[in-house]
């Protein structure tokens, strides 16, 4: 509990950090959360339906190829990328204390995430992924 000794006397709490604002991230995280709460259970139910055998391959393709489904899937991918970026960023910022490593990890995460996002879109819009 003797934490005081390691902290400086005055903490610059009034400064909102390098972004000069905290609202944007906070707002986007919650907006994407609402979108995901509606859309994210759908792929899970799809997977369970395939597991249970109530949806065969033709049924699955009919579902996925529908325009509404492609639109919702694209929305899901966008919301997921925003949400995952913010969530993982906060985890990295909390547990990785070396600044250089933190920046590298956040960057690598962004690159890997974009890659998976494009792969996902390619499958959904049937570009051949």
């Amino acid at each position: 509990m003797n934490e005081k000794t390691t902290l400086p006397v005055k903490l610059p709490i009034k400064e909102p950090g390098a972004a000069h604002s905290g609202l944007s991230d906070w707002y986007w995280q919650r907006l994407s959360a609402v979108v995901l709460a509606v859309l994210l259970p759908l792929p899970f139910f799809l997977l369970v339906s395939v597991y249970g055998g109530s949806v065969d391959q033709q049924g699955l393709l009919d579902l996925l190829d529908h325009f509404i489904s492609r639109l919702l899937h694209t929305l899901l991918i966008a919301a997921l990328m925003i949400h995952v970026y913010m969530g993982l960023k906060v985890i990295i910022e909390d547990y990785v204390h070396v600044a250089g490593l933190r920046v590298c990890l956040t960057g690598a995460m962004l690159v890997v995430m974009t890659g998976f996002g494009i792969w996902w879109l390619a499958i959904i819009w049937a570009w051949g992924g």
């Binding site: 959360a33 709460a37 369970v48 391959q57 985890i91």
Partner: protein, 129 residues
């Protein structure tokens, strides 16, 4: 350079090593953990989606894998994580909206979310075995 001494001694967040374990704190750390599980499931899901939209042979491979021990374990883990992250996410949103902000309400809602998830974990296990 004042910040350097702070960085090196920054405690884990949520303050696992400092505070006593409480329902609200467990809810918070589990939100991170289940979020991480869901992120890690994305590459696996894309691999499954790639297989399911491929040839009939690929589709059969995917359903075969889903019914394997590891496949069923993955379905269980992602289902439970989704359930938890979904419920606790709604709990977080309601707290952000100012509803259920008191200490007792946060404790009770954390218990409710943990209880619901435990129930779903058992149900899903029964369904998948």
């Amino acid at each position: 350079m004042r910040e350097r001494s702070v960085n090196n001694t920054r405690p884990l967040s949520p303050r696992l090593s400092i505070y006593r374990w409480q329902p609200a704190m467990i809810a918070s750390i589990l939100h991170r953990f289940t979020g991480l599980v869901l992120v890690l499931f994305v590459p696996l899901y894309l691999w499954l989606l790639h297989g399911m939209t491929g040839t009939a042979h690929h589709f059969a491979d995917v359903t075969h894998w889903l019914h394997s021990g590891f496949g069923r374990l993955s379905l269980w883990l992602v289902g439970v994580s989704l359930m938890y992250h979904f419920c606790n996410g709604i709990r977080f949103l309601s707290i952000d909206a100012g509803w259920g902000e008191s200490r007792d309400a946060m404790r009770n809602s954390a218990r409710l979310v943990l209880g619901l998830t435990a129930l779903v974990a058992v149900l899903l296990a029964v369904l998948l075995v």
